[in-house]
Subunit: 382 residues, 2 copies
Amino acid sequence: MSTPPIPAKALQLRSLVTPDARLELSLAEVDVPEPGPDEVLVRIEATPINPSDQGLLFAMADLSTATAGGTAARPVVTATIPPAVMKSLAARLGQSMPVGNEGAGVVVKTGDSPQARALLGKTVAILGGAMYAQYRSMKASQCLALPAGATPADGASCFVNPLTALGMVATMRAEGHKALVHTAAASNLGQMLNRICLADGVGLVCIVRRPEQAALLKSQGAVHVCDSSAPTFMQDLTAALVATGATVAFDAIGGGRLASQILTCMEAAINAGAAEYNRYGSSVHKQVYIYGGLDRGPTEIVRNVGMAWGVGGWLLTPFLQRIGPAEAQKLRERVARELKTTFASHFDREVSLAQALSLEAIGVYSRIGTGAKYLINPNKAG
Amino acid sequence: MSTPPIPAKALQLRSLVTPDARLELSLAEVDVPEPGPDEVLVRIEATPINPSDQGLLFAMADLSTATAGGTAARPVVTATIPPAVMKSLAARLGQSMPVGNEGAGVVVKTGDSPQARALLGKTVAILGGAMYAQYRSMKASQCLALPAGATPADGASCFVNPLTALGMVATMRAEGHKALVHTAAASNLGQMLNRICLADGVGLVCIVRRPEQAALLKSQGAVHVCDSSAPTFMQDLTAALVATGATVAFDAIGGGRLASQILTCMEAAINAGAAEYNRYGSSVHKQVYIYGGLDRGPTEIVRNVGMAWGVGGWLLTPFLQRIGPAEAQKLRERVARELKTTFASHFDREVSLAQALSLEAIGVYSRIGTGAKYLINPNKAG
């Protein structure tokens, strides 16, 4: 296998918010880093566009205003940012920010440490930002070497979705729940969570928004699938909660009343067997963790579920900090072992960095939850 | 002091929900209980009408439909219950339920155990339901003997408000926060919490809804008082949060956007000193506990505070269970020691059981938060 020579400079995708409320996406030419003694240089060949990347990438700009400029090789996309969100962006004003949480590629150069040298030529997955770039240096200890035969595309989504899905199950267990609910359950992450729960014997209630998503999950063995567009949704969900005993939910939607509906159905399911009236509702704690924002509107909680309830944010990084490095490493090793089965990701299209900045591509992958899933190969020609 | 003879039967206030969606409040004549060996019989002379009693008492009936019946000595009040809430009342349909969480009175008869006999003639405070009654038996071990000179009225609110206020401060400490926010802060509970925080050196941000409430709290030494009716409320609250570092709030309102505004201001206060942009918001956990429902409408959370946030229910009983009996006993002993200072309650009016069921009285004390505070003396004539 011949390796192309390592250039002195290479491309990196950048997101800039200007003081006049414009988003500017572009490709910067940056120095290819020289790996330190404990580091390796990775030629990135696969990096996914996850929902968790899009906040930093698009800065909540109004993408209907996006216009294309620059050249084919160096496109520049600009869009206007609504005044209401500018305040929350104050800390990044004027900073040209690299993007991309995770990626995979081939180690093309290493530092002198034995651990770094051992990775030369290996395909590795890495996490840590600035992955929408042709090259990225990384501590050797933070690289996940992929099993033989795995391509960078296989390993591109090694961290965010797999660890998030495993984190949901681990959080469920740590907080004393026996089963869990997941919304937007037909996503790549949702399908992964379904495979984990089937493998581990964990009760899972999948909530989807369309019949074809329900059919997809059922074809993958999902037992409890509730379609929120069905007129019987509340009854269906309550029945699934009675069957599983789920009292924690992970919600990717965020806005509207879905979180509240889940709490209401949980309380109904708990009380289905209760004999005695309790004026404060059941004493069983019911929790909804919001980990995404497919609906950016306010979360509306109708407080008809007693007092033992909680709604809050859930994020991968604090979860990993809570469990500590040893437990986190166990999760990563499971991901590597089951990379092509439990943790397989599906991508609809592979694009270059320049192609990722075409208005047509942005129009598709920015529609989180309904758009297609894109994979960037920063070293793809085009 | 001569004690009136103990009757065979005595009055007890009852709340009944009928299958045809009517609330019926009445006075039942029930047997005066015979204390068991470890028990005492308390002649109740003071029992408060707390917000936490009103859910059971009124069953969310529409009190504008209340009509008076019965006789002056045995009034019967009926009101219609909105269909929407009947489902949540299914478990109490047709059960005539006693009411009243806490009260105080004189021990007029005891069982044979030394602990019970030691209480004869003592004024004690008790907790446990069915306090809107002329007599109540209770385990001697669960009676809190009041200090010399304390009247039943002094001890009537020994448990719910004092332990709730102490529970807020204890929860704040247990969850790693350094100061707290309280809404509806001019209530009896809020004034008590202010005295606790002043005594213990705990930072407290009081949120009130009217200028005269702010003035009342400031006259009692409250340092940070924010009036939500002021046009500068959000700036005032943010400044108070910067000054105190409060990252947990206890909210008696529940509905609307106040909880969300508190989270927003907490995040602004945390970020006031932050230099670096974090796309997920600050990593400091911000928590609002809803412990009341002055506004029964939905809680609306605008998710502009990053991912480290939570909103949920908070209730005294599970808190006491979490800390265990030894810690709970320490809290009760502090209440007894500081009964006439830190934990003093103010009542606007004392009424008999029959007077408590007059439409005029109901019209006043049912307006939680703005109505006057009533104390029932079940052994008062009238």
